[in-house]
């Protein structure tokens, strides 16, 4: 089982420190969703976990090894990271893109081995893209395109998948399509997934574990029902909300009070 641990991370861009003194253990957690308000440092944290961002201080341990000291190619065989809204060159087909996922396993003389071929076919099948393999990405729907990128990460054949907002720019139906796929990747194929998500209710529904961040630190972490409390939502998001039971999943469902608060939350005073 792949393990990923952050130790006393300080992250930032230039002089601007976004995350300071953050420690987190992400081993064996199934699907983890990192949630938090805009600018809380969740994407920054994910980038550091995937060694796209070098920490100012602290370490990221991948299976116990300092990720900065493991050759990046070796890291790529154990951990796949999908950046937010990735861009493919014009005209690239789904199969071409998924084939790129084999890069860490290839070299100049070994460019298309039978294990490459198998892994690509496997990744296409798991994401339901075999039919679309020869279609250019720019002709696909947003959900299909996102599935293609996830398929590329799958072809990397890693135990760990880091996804930065895999549902951005997708409508609700496509968000569900992508999240169902992510759920299956863990349930059926044993991948450990860490993703940044914006939508609290979808995070609660599809993740085994939530990590709530605020101002570059972890405010709470644990099962969705433990993390999503009225107090935490007020503290982390500054949001007045009611938590009810999701009639479908039985998990927590966040109902923001917002402007409706005056009508429902305040007891009627009779006047």
């Amino acid at each position: 089982m792949a393990s990923l641990t952050a130790r006393d991370l300080r992250l930032g861009y230039g002089d601007r420190i976004v995350v300071d003194g953050l420690s987190l253990d992400l081993g064996d957690a199934g699907v983890t969703a990192i949630i938090g308000p805009n600018g809380c440092g969740k994407s920054t944290l994910l980038r550091a976990l995937g060694r796209l961002l070098k920490p100012h201080a602290g370490r990221v341990l991948l299976d116990g090894d300092d990720i900065a000291k493991v050759p990046t190619r070796e890291v790529a065989k154990r951990l796949a990271i999908l950046p937010q809204a990735p861009q493919a060159p014009e005209g690239l087909t789904v199969a071409d893109l998924v084939t790129r996922g084999r890069h860490p396993h290839q070299s100049w003389y070994r460019q298309w081995s039978s294990s490459d071929e198998g892994a690509v076919a496997d990744a296409l099948a798991k994401t339901g893209l075999l039919e679309l393999a020869d279609r250019p990405l720019d002709e696909l729907s947003g959900g299909q395109r996102q599935r293609a990128w996830i398929s590329m990460a799958l072809a990397q054949d890693t135990g760990l998948l880091l996804l930065d907002e895999p549902t951005t720019f997708l409508d609700l139906a496509h968000q569900i399509e992508v999240l169902e796929l992510i759920r299956r990747l863990h349930a059926d194929h044993g991948r450990t997934v860490v993703m940044v998500l914006h939508d609290l209710n979808l995070a609660a529904r599809y993740a085994d574990r939530l990590v709530a961040m605020r101002d570059g630190r972890v405010a709470a972490s644990g099962a969705p029902a433990e993390v999503l409390t009225v107090e935490l939502l007020a503290e982390v998001f500054g949001l007045d909300a009611k938590i009810i039971t999701d009639p479908v999943s039985g998990g927590p469902l966040v109902v923001p009070l917002g402007g409706a608060r005056s009508a429902t939350a305040r007891p009627p005073d009779g006047s």
């Binding site: 980038r47 995937g50 060694r51 796209l52 050759p71 990046t72 190619r73 070796e74 890291v75 790529a76 065989k77 796949a80 990271i81 999908l82 950046p83 990735p86 861009q87 493919a88 060159p89 014009e90 005209g91 690239l92 087909t93 199969a95 071409d96 893109l97 790129r100 996922g101 890069h103 860490p104 290839q106 070299s107 100049w108 003389y109 070994r110 460019q111 298309w112 081995s113 039978s114 490459d116 071929e117 198998g118 892994a119 690509v120 076919a121 496997d122 296409l124 099948a125 075999l130 393999a133 020869d134 279609r135 250019p136 990460a153 990397q156």
Partner: protein, 365 residues
Amino acid sequence: MRSPIPRTAPAGSVRTGGVSLTVRVARVSFRVRPRPITVALAGLGLLALLMALSVGRGDFPIGVGDVFRTLLGGEENRFVVMELRLPRALTGALVGAALGLSGAIAQAVARNPLASPDVLGVTSGASVAVVLVMITGGGYGGVSGLIATLGVPFAGLAGGLVAGIGVYLLAWRHGLDGYRLVLVGIGVTSIAANVKWWLLTIGDVDQASRAMVWITGSLNGRGWEHVRPVALALMLLIPLTLLGAHKLEALRLGDDSARGLGLRVDLARSLLVLAAVALAAVATASAGPVEFVALAAPQIALRLCGSTRPPLVGSLVVGAVLTVGADLIARTAFGGVELPVGVVTAVLGAPFLIYLLVRSRRKAT
């Protein structure tokens, strides 16, 4: 459970070049697409024909058949073919190949069809350095024999490298953005152009007019001493570049994705750009700035091969064909007047550049 991948594209899918063949011997494995190979072979055939035509042209015309006979060992016209005319055709082919390959790498790395050594300052940097050497007394038939043969190519090489690397460093800001690279390149190119004109203005008239011929890009009077350095540089740079080609595939997905795939992005890109700059600088050093070949060849090869990025081998072959073809036109189309090859490539290339600009603007909006 792994299902076999459909290796051949269904009918109607042309974007990826359709069919591909897998070659596997022991631990070596490749996937080959027949269309780029066909394009490369056809291009080489056309190149041989154009070179033979070019060798045959001159005050003493020789038929294409006779040219091939002489090249294959015939004694007839041996001196004219081997010593006087073949070096020119070879220089043209090699220079074109280097420019085509250089452009293909630059365009693929920058993810921008406008990125080519012409735009990225390499050719203009080389021009400034060469003009400086010529004006200050080097040049052909100048003060010393050593400077005459080594000075100009060396100045071209050094100027091209300095300008190309300078543009790359100036464009760097937490990574490389294709448009930023092109914009910085255009800026540096125009500064270099003005320095060049200034040097020509203050220089001696004779020197300046010789320099003018050089900075238009000419294959006139090229001998084996011009062929050897380009050939040597290409023998070194082409294999190195082709070995790094599979890194281009990952690089084209953007920095973050490429890093995620385990590519040392900055190192790979720097080496590839360095190779592109070196190729263009070597080419410019030996023939002067033959404009637009590096810009047009990769885009033409891309369309011929039906691929999603400029094909390296295809661009190399197309570059050679374009340059030798343009030289042939320059020498034959205007009666007794022989134009420098750079004039022809510029006249043909400028509309192509406009086409690319119009096309990329449409895509952006």
